[in-house]
């Protein structure tokens, strides 16, 4: 057995990893990829020892997480790239090259991920360029006209039509992974909350799951359910914001302001629970800091019933409008095969017909007892991504209201134990945008030696580029909003 198979949040012994030599590693990884697995992390298990890397896969067929180790010492930090056969691995290889200097040989497109002049030395990165007299290039950002995060977009256009969009990010790089490793334990939750401001609960949940799995803490059911409710409220709130954003981008003022109003109700419900509208401060290791008292539960139920009632009406109005269909349908399409190939995940992948939902494939926390349905749409256009949001809001509200009415009794916070030595864990959580992966490894003294984070935006930014092909450039903001990706989450 050259690989380790494990479940979501199942700790494994770091010493049991077999570090393969390049040839064997190559074969093992290609075999794994051939089974239809998707890479979710490619990183050294110890930050201080970048020669020994681990390649982690998400294998939905056998419902396990697969880890393959490699020792690149003998090969001068080089290995043969997998990206030519499996394009979705390319960005992970770029990241590994940039962070730890392991060079993929024959990589099709080795480009900077976050730091502009690491992989290519001090030579400025060369963007794709379209030749000819009739084509033009439009460069947008990193400073934008609105108050949004920084990102650089290069369009190669022929008239209004986009041939290629290249996205260059990294302007928000803060070194979160390193900060989490170096910081003291009480600061880590606060750091996890700030990985991506719009997914505070998603990332904190993934972080807490990882740490609790490492320290073998057993959570009470009540805490698990409150966490799930918080995560689902975040999903509802962010999907409402996304719907409002799409309505705003097509200039449809009435639904835009109505969705905005409902989002306030949803995030106010989170504030009732923990005092922060974004759910900050709710999580502690071993449970939650705040309990949902009967009065709070009643208030939240009242809020969410209003959201449920109003959102149905507004959805009907918004989606039955001719203007909406004309703008959203067949705009920014990502075919299922393309989405699969480039490894799209989460909401955007489900809108393209891929069955990618961690809550279903690798249930964690309270989702183990409360299954959620896999919602997918086939067309992969802006309409599908928008419509899927509306469907997920409906489903999440059902789940939240059901759980709030039957909140289990029990402690909300269990104590936590000492950190184990030489242990690793992979924690996967379905944030509102998609799959969030946190991987933690401890060293010989029980200290963190590696903390790896993958936000769904890391996979899906390239999907946005694919959606823009052969699409009018004036539809870019609409496509962008339909993906609604995070800059901070990608840049870390």
């Amino acid at each position: 057995m050259t690989q380790i198979q494990m479940q979501n949040n199942q700790p494994f012994d770091l010493d049991s990893i077999i570090y393969l030599k390049s040839g064997a590693f190559q074969k093992a990884v290609l075999d794994e990829l051939a089974e239809g697995s998707r890479m979710i992390a490619f990183t050294p298990v110890n930050r201080n020892n970048p020669r020994q890397v681990a390649c982690v896969f998400f294998n939905a067929n056998i419902s396990s997480i697969v880890l393959i180790g490699a020792d690149l010492t003998g090969d001068d930090f080089r290995y043969e790239s997998f990206a030519n056969a499996y394009p979705h691995t390319n960005y992970f290889e770029c990241e590994l090259a940039e962070m730890y200097g392991c060079i993929p040989v024959n990589h099709p497109w080795l480009r900077p991920v976050r730091k502009q002049n690491v992989t290519s030395g001090n030579v400025p990165y060369k963007f794709f360029k379209l030749g000819g007299d009739e084509v033009h290039e439009v460069a947008v950002g990193p400073i934008h006209a609105g108050v949004i995060e920084p990102g650089h977009f290069r369009f190669q256009c022929h008239g209004e039509l986009v041939y290629n969009l290249e996205i260059s990010l990294g302007y928000q790089y803060r070194g979160v992974e390193e900060l989490i490793v170096k910081s003291n334990p009480v600061q880590r939750i606060i750091l996890a909350e700030s990985i991506a401001g719009d997914t505070a609960i998603g990332h904190t949940l993934a972080h807490c799951n990882a740490v609790e799995a490492l320290t073998q803490s057993r959570l009470g059911l009540r805490a698990e359910v409150i966490r799930m409710i918080a995560a689902e409220i975040e999903r509802v709130a962010m999907h409402l914001a996304g719907l409002g954003g799409v309505a705003n981008d097509i200039g449809f003022a009435l639904p835009a302001s109505s969705y905005g109003r409902l989002r306030t109700l949803a995030i106010n419900s989170l504030a009732l629970l923990c005092g922060s509208r974004f759910g900050r401060g709710l999580f502690v290791y071993g449970g939650t800091r705040f309990d949902a008292t009967p009065e709070i539960v009643q208030k939240i139920i009242g809020n969410l019933l209003e959201v449920q009632h109003d959102v149905r009406k507004i959805n009907e109005y918004f989606f039955s409008s001719v203007g909406t269909s004309s703008r959203l349908e067949e705009t920014g399409t990502v075919e299922t095969a393309v989405a699969k190939n480039i490894g799209m995940i989460g909401l955007a992948a489900r809108a393209s017909g891929l069955e990618e939902d961690v809550r279903v494939l690798f249930p964690y926390g309270a989702y183990r007892y409360n299954p959620v349905p896999m919602l997918t749409l086939a067309t992969g256009d802006v309409f599908a991504r928008t419509r899927l949001r509306a469907m997920e809001i409906e489903e999440s509200l059902r789940l939240i209201l059901e759980q709030l009415e039957n909140l289990p009794d029990g402690e909300i916070c269990a104590g936590s134990n000492a950190w184990p030595v030489n242990t690793g864990v992979v924690s996967i959580v379905e944030g509102w945008r998609g799959e969030i992966v946190h991987m933690a490894c401890t060293g010989v003294n029980g200290e963190l030696v590696q903390y790896k984070i993958k936000d769904p935006s890391f996979n899906n930014w390239y999907g946005l580029g694919m959606a823009l092909r052969e699409t009018p450039i004036s539809d870019f903001p609409l496509c962008n909003k339909s993906f609604d990706l995070s800059y901070a989450g990608h840049d870390l």
Binding site: E137, A145, E160, G251, S258, R261, P477
Partner: protein, 307 residues
């Protein structure tokens, strides 16, 4: 003669003074319709005051075109306003065939704006200029077919005479006016870059048509562009209201009442359209404009066959 000139100048001043108020009114109504309180009615005046005090920064490498274009814009708008009959009074500039001048004086402002946008040399502005020029191509026939048909029907070629000839006694004439007002409304929406052709509130530089051309302007230049924009909107509003003829000479008071009611109705109409309509795909805008042209042609055909 002296009194006539004075009256003409007063009407120009009315247009210049009230145009930001009209823009504020549309925005306020839009806010109310979407359930918000919205910016104060006088917000456009505050905005202009703010811009007026700010420093003007010109793009590096831009030529004199960018410097003069904002002023050209304002001057052309003032000339257009001077040709517009507001009230009973004869406008300052009025002669037979002045609808041609009116159309092309507005065209001149657009011409300079497009030149200035390309002069700056940013890819956004070039894109905006291309879009503006393309859609202007489709918008021009709307003006000529709708006003041309009214001119043909009424037998006058001056804006003042055409609008003053509108009498509501003749029912068949009224039909033409109503049809014509629809196409002029569609034209106004296009020319003033409002929904569903252009979104005046968007911050997304890639979807803008008009706004993207003034992205690199600031301070006094932006003030002049904004002000010209407000005047343009009000000019089209007055044209539209004049179809329902407030100033046929039934008395000042009635005229003013109809004018104010007309402005409110029109502002509401704009507000409603911007609330319930979503913006068209860029490639569908020419269809919309050709539809407005077709209305003008229809007007002419109906007149020819029913005479």
């Amino acid at each position: 003669m002296g009194l006539g000139l004075l009256q003409g100048i007063v009407s120009v001043l009315v247009v210049l003074g009230l145009s930001p108020l009209f823009a504020g009114l549309v925005n306020k109504l839009k806010a109310i319709l979407t359930g918000r309180i919205g910016a104060p009615l006088l917000q456009p005046y505050y905005e202009m005051q703010r811009l007026f005090r700010k420093e003007t920064i010109n793009a590096i490498g831009s030529s004199f075109i960018s410097r003069i274009s904002p002023l050209v814009n304002l001057v052309t708008m003032i000339i257009a306003a001077a040709m517009l009959p507001v009230g009973f009074w004869k406008p300052v500039i009025s002669f037979d065939g002045d609808i041609i001048l009116f159309a092309y004086i507005l065209g001149l402002s657009r011409f300079f704006q497009i030149l200035a946008a390309m002069d700056i040399g940013s890819s956004f502005e070039g894109m905006g200029a291309a879009r503006e020029a393309t859609f202007a191509l489709f918008a021009e026939p709307i003006f000529f077919f709708s006003f041309g048909s009214i001119s043909f029907i009424s037998g006058y070629t001056s804006l003042y005479m055409i609008l003053h000839s509108i009498q509501h006694q003749n029912i068949s004439y009224e039909v033409f006016i109503v049809i014509c007002s629809i196409s002029v409304f569609m034209l106004a929406v296009t020319e003033c870059s409002r929904m569903p052709v252009d979104d005046p509130n968007t911050h997304l530089e890639l979807t803008m048509i008009h706004e993207v051309m003034i992205l690199d302007n600031s301070g006094l230049d932006l003030f002049l562009y904004q002000y010209s924009g407000y005047i343009k909107l009000f000019i089209y509003a007055i044209l539209e209201i004049s179809f329902f003829y407030p100033f046929s000479g039934q008395g000042y008071l009635l005229g003013i009442i109809i004018f104010i009611t007309g402005s409110l109705v029109l502002a509401t109409a704009l507000g409603v359209v911007e609330t319930i309509a979503s913006r068209y795909k860029m490639k569908n805008i020419p269809q919309y404009l050709l539809f407005a042209t077709a209305i003008g042609i229809l007007n002419l055909l109906i007149y020819t066959f029913t005479r």
